[in-house]
């Protein structure tokens, strides 16, 4: 290994060099040199869905489940389930959501986090359901940016090979 890595004055050239050799020198406008290295870091989590588990197990069975407050006189219904009511703090019970709803809002992402860059462009939608008090964030597939509008009727689809992720459900235009 060389004693001194190559020197660059543009930070993006430093980044390129790190990908190649793992080390570079950056020289700034004042002539100050800084040693920059590649420093990878990876983690595997042991992630429990805990009280949200029935939602994800439901998706694997092709069921979309929300939750409803059990307190008489409250009865808030949540499309994105919560095991306790946000309004009154009472326990909720599970219920099946309708398989169809309407787009409350939407966007098409042309960029994304590194983990999702390869999937761009993709559509995100907030779905509202009849008789339900809160929304559900989903991917909207089989639709182009120019097809989408607020109020558009959409319908749930489920992954036949579930990954136990919220991506096991998505919506398509109805």
């Amino acid at each position: 290994m060389k004693a001194r890595p190559p020197t660059f004055t543009k930070f993006r050239d430093v980044q390129a060099e790190l990908a190649r050799s793992g080390a570079a020198l950056f020289r700034d406008a004042d002539g100050v040199e800084s040693l920059v290295i590649r420093y990878p870091y990876a983690i595997e989590y042991i992630h429990s869905y805990a009280e949200d588990s029935p939602f994800f197990l439901g998706l694997a069975e092709g069921r979309l489940r929300g939750s409803r407050c059990t307190r008489k006189g409250c009865g808030c219904v949540y499309a994105t389930p919560r095991s306790h009511c946000m309004e009154c703090g009472s326990a909720t019970e599970w219920l099946d959501l309708p398989s169809t709803g309407k787009l409350h809002s939407w966007t098409t992402c042309h960029f994304g986090s590194e983990a999702f860059l390869k999937e761009t462009p993709y559509n995100l939608g907030l779905v509202q359901f009849e008789g339900v008090d809160s929304l559900l964030l989903v991917r909207v597939k089989d639709a182009k940016e120019s097809d989408l509008y607020v109020g558009m009727p959409v319908e749930a689809r489920f992954d036949p090979n579930p990954k136990y992720s919220v991506t096991d459900v998505w919506f398509v235009p109805k």
Binding site: T80, H104, L124, Y149
Partner: protein, 507 residues
Amino acid sequence: MPCHLALLGSADAGARVRAKNAARLGRGEGFRVPNRAKKPMQRKSVGTGGEERQRRATGRRVYMVTGGVTKFAKAHPAMDFRLMVKRAYDYAVRGIPNLTKDRIDGTRISYFSDHFSRQLKAASMVQDYLGLNPKGSVRIEWGGATGGECFQAAYEAVASGRMDVCLAAGYETMSRVATWKGNEFIALASDTNFDFPLGGFYTGYYALMVMRHIYEYLRLTRFANVRDEREAQRLAIQEGCRIMSMVSVKNHLNALHNPYAQYPKRLTVQDVLNSEMISYPLTREQICTMSDGAAVAFLCSESVAREFTDKPVLIKGVGCGTDTMRLADRPFGKVPLMPRESAKDYAHLPYPGVHSFRAGRAAGLEAYRMAGITDPNRELDFIELHDAYASSEIQTYEDLGLCKYGEGYGFVERGDPFLRGIDYGFPTPNAGAIPVNPSGGLIACGHPVGATGLMQGVFAFWQLQGTIARHFGDPALQLKDPKRGAIHSHAGTGSSVTVSILERGFR
């Protein structure tokens, strides 16, 4: 009369279309549990804590006496976080010989992400590097509002009587990963069970919010009479984008006179619209970037403030609000009213939904109440506002009561938040009414998260001192004789927001 109807010319037509659309989109009775609006819990949850806060003690008076900022840049490879904070600190104490280390009682140190730092307990290393051990310190993290929260934590340390001199210091080093990895880190500040796996991307979340804002306030008003629904929405989005671009032009152009800013430039509305589409309808020039940078603020009790400066700035009010982490959980309730608003203004507006930031309104109400402000437009001379997105700047005008809900777009078109005497390339008839982001804001200055809210504090402090020309080397951004300003710091999709009111503390 509701604000959005005023824009129409025909209130009745607007009301009819709004009611019809609400019914058609299931936003009326069918969408909400019919008895829900009657429940006291529901009303309370949308409020901000109510009357009892008026009686709350406010503690000792707290003054800002100095501050410092590093230049915000895409990358500062020659400075790690400790050195960046040290540079901002040295700038702040320069010329104040009696503001020595022994006068500092303790610190509050902020940075947003351990992922970016690649160093846990990094605030301890800042404390260490500044040589401030064994004084008391705590790290502050509150998403995008981290800097604003740090400012208020230092305020509380002094107001409570625990300290006479508290250093608030913040930084972020976002260049340590590639941009799209950085976006991933930021998106980890969304629910990792339900939101992140769908394509975790904050610009996408803000696009969802502004899309609904455009629907509520442009589709249902200016384009109420367009019969074809898709065409009406298309026209409304086009109009919203044009107006958002005016905000981007303003902030980039103001920053031409701010040497600390990362991306000062002269743009046209068309340039902003033509820049890369990131998440429809938000384009690259409507979005702040990642930055390296640091900022510090010294807050003091009244008893010592004048030992350090003859131009202290009083922290007149502080406010903080919160909202659900998931956009999908935001309720559809009632608007907590500003002093000059009436419930009738918002009779048909489900609030906050995903179109507005309830946390911003809660923070504004608390800060205004404490500062005795009832008409922010007249009683504030400027605002440094957390414009991570041009869209959220417009949404925030409404939250902070600079205009009513629904009037944000018209507020921009009339020119109220623009600076007088600067040619933005389009008419700004009301320029100077209440300048927003005279410094250039996050869009042009950059957004090194843990430093951002403190940077706003420093710029506001210099404005109120009348020392912008000295610190910027350019007098263009100095407002004439400002008495009072606000700083506003905002975390992911409005899940937490702080507002602090700063007032000139000298004659």
